[in-house]
Each structure stands twice: as C-alpha cells, then as structure tokens.
C-alpha cells in the first residue's frame, strides 16, 4: 500500500517559483489559486504584493482614458453598452479636438503618465485615424508631453504603421476572456482576429496592452485559462476589468463580481504575470468599494485608471491619488517612462 501524495500548497509553490524565480504559475496552478478558501485570501494578496514589489517595483502607473467615438459600434460584444446591436441607452457621440486636448490636460494634471484615446469601432477608418492624428498633434501643441496610447479595435498592418508614425507608444486591444469562452461573448469577430492585431502591434514596436473582463459567465477554469493565455502573449500591460452590468446589454442582469472572487482574480493574475503592469480598470468601484481597492493595490496591482471610464463614471482622480498616498505608493513619473 502506498501513501497518498502529499498535497502541496500552491502559495508555497508560488513563493519559490514566482517570487524567487519570476516564473508565472501554470494554468492548473492559477486554478488552484482561484479556488483558495476565503481565509487564504490575505496570504494570497501578501505573496502577490511581494511578487509585484520584487519584479515590478513600488511605483504605480496612472492613466486616464477618454472615448473619442462613443456608441454605434457594429460589433456585438455582449458586455458593451456601445454596441449598436443592443437597446442600450448610450447614443453615438464624437469628441472634438478641443475636447480631446482638454481631456488630455485633465489627465496630465493628475500626474498620470498615460492617456489612452479609445473608439468604439471594429477597426479605424480614415476619418477616425485622421481625427486621432489631429488630436495627438493638438495635444502636443498644448505643451502636453503625456504618453499616448490608443484603442481603436482591429488594425491592418498599414494602420499599425500609421499609429507608430503618430507617436502612439502603446496600443490596447483586449482579448476580453478565455479563448474557449470568447464565442459566448462576441460573435461578430474571433479571438484569433484580436490575437493577430496584437501580434502586429508587438512586431511594430508598440507596447502591448491586453486584458479583459472578469465576471462574464466564465468558469474559474476559464479564468485560469485566460490568465495563462495572456501570459503567453507577454503583454506590457494587463488591464483587469470587472463586469459592470450595463442596461440594455445581454449581460445587464449578470451579478456583480463578489469582492473575494475579485481579490482572488487579482492575486492569481499577478502570480501568472509577475513582470507585467497589472492595472485596475473598470468595475472596481462596484466590486470592491474603497476598502477592496486598497486590498487590491496591496495584492499585486501596480497601475490604475483614474477618473472616469468611457461611458461609466469612476471615482474622482484625487480620491485614488489620496489612496496611493496613504499606501505610500509613489506614482511613476513621466521622466522615468521616456
């Protein structure tokens, strides 16, 4: 008769593998983390924070985002209030250049180093790219040297090259969820199409920003699958959103992600992605409230979006800046990003 194999604690493994060696957890290991009982969450957050401090450092990257083109999107991303395919109350709107310059200035005034220009489109057309080009030029003429990122949907190689020429240093294109769950969330394009755009961005020398949304009906196994699929991409930044069930969307009645589940996700994603910028993005206000946001910042997160989101409101930027001050977390300076 042989003895049953001793159960190895996944957090002990993480301490050796991730904290000491900088090697992210495997899919099976991430799933174990996502299944930890509530009483182990403080241990998880402690090690996730240690990993972040060791492999990323103490600084927090602050970003503001703005919607250049809102609503009327032909795609059917089921979480999105900007899809033209659902009876959402969001109406189409274009932000003009003075409005874009003002938004960039508001963002820079918070001490943020990143400003992301976003459009609700399948991919950019000539008019949109022209607006982005003129907008970036106007932001620079305003004396604002904040780093500019874009999120304009799927790109062609020619469009990638145009964005590089405009000085866009980072491009956001979320895979949103696990490959196995994606067809339940989006039917008008594929996970692989998104992946192809991400590959072009990387090869063109832009930084890759790619994350997703927790709480879209995925299983814990699919949450783990998503974490390691992101890790395989080796993104510079992963924005972690929690579903905001917006009216009119197919997910309007989905439950908000519970705080403990969200904290397990934060810790697990950090342990899968030890060197990546892990950004708190949309939905944290509903999921966490003030206390949980602090726990997340002490549980592996090292970047935040401050102020409002694209169609939803966030906390006033100063509240988050005050929180970072209370946590003695320095904000990354622009001079250190150039």
């Amino acid at each position: 008769m042989t003895a049953a194999p001793e159960q190895v604690d996944v957090l002990s493994v993480a301490r050796e593998q991730v904290l000491e060696q900088g090697v992210g957890l495997s899919e099976e290991q991430v799933l174990e983390v996502l299944q930890l009982p509530d009483e182990r969450i403080p241990d998880l957050l402690e090690i996730a924070h240690a990993v972040r401090m060791r492999w990323c450092g103490p600084e927090v990257e602050v970003e503001g985002i703005v919607s250049l083109k809102t609503g009327g999107c032909p795609e059917d991303c089921h979480f999105c209030s900007q899809s033209g395919q659902f009876p959402s109350p969001v109406r189409s709107a274009w932000l003009d250049i003075p409005g874009l310059v003002k938004a960039a200035r508001q963002t820079a005034d918070t001490g943020a180093t990143e400003f992301c220009i976003v459009a609700a489109v399948r991919g950019p057309d000539k008019r949109l790219l022209s607006q982005v080009r003129d907008g970036i030029k106007a932001i620079r003429e305003d004396g604002n040297d904040i780093q500019i990122a874009c999120s304009l949907g799927m790109l062609t190689q020619e469009q990638v090259d145009e964005l590089v020429a405009m000085g866009v240093h980072r491009y956001n294109h979320n895979l949103e969820t696990a490959r196995s769950h994606f067809p339940n969330v989006v039917t008008t394009h594929s996970w692989e199409e998104r992946w192809d755009t991400l590959k072009m961005i990387r090869e063109a020398g832009m930084e890759v920003c790619c994350g997703g949304i927790i709480g879209m009906g995925e299983t814990l196994a699919q949450r783990a699958e998503f974490a390691v699929q992101l890790a395989a991409l080796e993104p510079d930044e992963v924005p972690l959103n929690f579903l905001i069930p917006n009216p009119g969307t197919p997910y309007e009645n989905y439950p908000v992600v519970e705080g403990p589940d969200a904290l397990r996700a934060v810790g697990a994603f950090r342990l899968a992605l030890p060197r990546t910028i892990l950004r708190f993005a949309g939905g944290r206000e509903l999921t966490f409230g003030d206390l949980g946001a602090k726990q997340g910042m002490l549980g592996g997160v090292n970047a935040i979006i401050v102020g409002n989101y694209l169609t939803n409101l966030g906390r006033p930027a100063q509240q988050d800046l005050d929180m970072l001050g209370e946590l003695s977390m320095p904000i990354k300076e622009l001079s250190k990003t150039l």
Partner: protein, 62 residues
C-alpha cells in the same frame, strides 16, 4: 424633474432606488429629466456632459 435620468421612466410611477444606486455613482444621466429623450452623453476623465435635443445640455459639477 419628471423622469429618471437612469432608466427614463416616470419618477413618480415606480421605485427608482436601484437607479439611484448607479446614477451619479457609476453612470451619468442618459435620459432627459424633462422629456425622457435619450441624451448624447460625453464622458471625460474629470466629468461628463449630457445634451437633450429639446432641453439643452447639462454637465457634471466636477
């Protein structure tokens, strides 16, 4: 104000406590309080504007 800025329904007709938990917290108004028309809303990092084709534009305090 006659209509809910979140759902666009008559404020007096139903309970809007669920709407109130989101309006101004994570959602700007989407419906005109005077006529319930859907408004064109622009959210920016530090605020929002919402324009009704009949009753004009309102904006956030911050």
């Amino acid at each position: 104000m006659t209509y809910c800025g979140y759902c666009g329904k008559d404020l007096a007709a139903t309970d809007h406590s669920a709407c109130a938990s989101r309006l101004g917290v994570i959602d700007p108004p989407r419906f005109c309080g005077e006529c319930a028309r859907r408004m064109v809303v622009q959210v920016t990092p530090a605020g929002w504007t919402a324009a009704c084709s009949r009753h004009g534009e309102i904006a956030s305090a911050r």
